[in-house]
Assembly symmetry: C3
Homo-oligomer: 139 residues x 3
């Protein structure tokens, strides 16, 4: 049994958006009780992230770490035409994840107690981002 | 056909534990000959890693690289309450992997000759870590 | 329905090779219309990458970023016997991806408009690299 649904997220610019609830809803509505849930981001300047879900400072600190490791406006890059945050966004994307593969058990994604799924926007401006969720398993 | 099994690993603190054998055992016992094997770590301060399996210095060097790139006690972070190694552990987790998706072929994970699967503990203290293995395919 | 095919790529040394077309051909020939496509690299000194497919400078800049972050010949490493680019290649591999899980929809991998799939060789010399593609879904 395979169920696919698109999730559209309008991001407010650089930072994280919790999409755990939307993904769990797709799994619940699929009726699939055991299998896998693939979450795929159709963009190369944002990421998907499994992250600690209790303290918002953890996501803030991750963004601070990335801002230091992959600074905007770095003169290393030739690809500069789309703005000082564009090539850093591609680097951040490659260092993190465009696709997450999650287990489905008991009719839900079997995340750990402290795990949430986040869409991480790397561009400074807001963007419309599309996720394709594929749930695959048995009813 | 879907088979799910939990693997529990007590880590000795920061460093790597080879879990290749445990994962191959789940695949062998599932009876599935072709398909996929998803290994999912239900934690955000440890990682899963595919790594060279011949020279232990490779894993030692990976930890040395991470210790330099993501040093403990970094004043950049606001999330400090759980100790100087906690936020660095979350960063290391995001820069590596919480989920590995492996091919199953001929009744086993079709790893390369020099590939092993490792659980990488990022906290300095020992922790109990839970992996959920989902094998999905045909008998 | 499960279809597995091997793709062999002879790389020209460090840099990226577009494998999108080869992967889409496996999916098309499988006859599978909806499901998932796992691409797995059986090596630990090269990577798979989803990356912007319009401007070749983006891939050049990614390699430049990695050359600065993970320089060859770093005295940090003990694993030096296979050359100054070997341990850096393992680090690059762990920081990126050995496995990509892609959605299949309408008989093709449902990539975004600007997404391509690249094999990223991290060794300076040419290598023969093996990818195992597993397409899993419904006809």
């Amino acid at each position: 049994m395979i169920v696919q649904r698109e999730i559209v997220v309008d991001t407010p610019g650089r930072g994280t958006t919790d999409v755990t609830r939307e993904i769990q809803r797709v799994v619940a509505e699929s009726g699939i009780t055991a299998g896998t849930c693939q979450v795929f981001l159709q963009h190369t300047s944002a990421s998907l992230m499994l992250c600690e879900n209790a303290d918002p400072d953890v996501r803030r600190d991750l963004d601070a770490f990335m801002a230091r490791l992959v600074p905007d406006g770095d003169s290393l890059y030739r690809h500069q035409s789309e703005g000082p945050d564009d090539m850093p966004a591609h680097v951040r994307s490659v260092l993190t994840h465009s696709s997450l593969s999650l287990p489905v058990n008991g009719g839900a994604c079997a995340l750990g107690t402290w795990q949430g799924v986040y869409l991480w926007e790397h561009r400074t401006r807001s963007h419309r981002r599309r996720l394709l969720v594929t749930v695959h398993g048995e009813l």
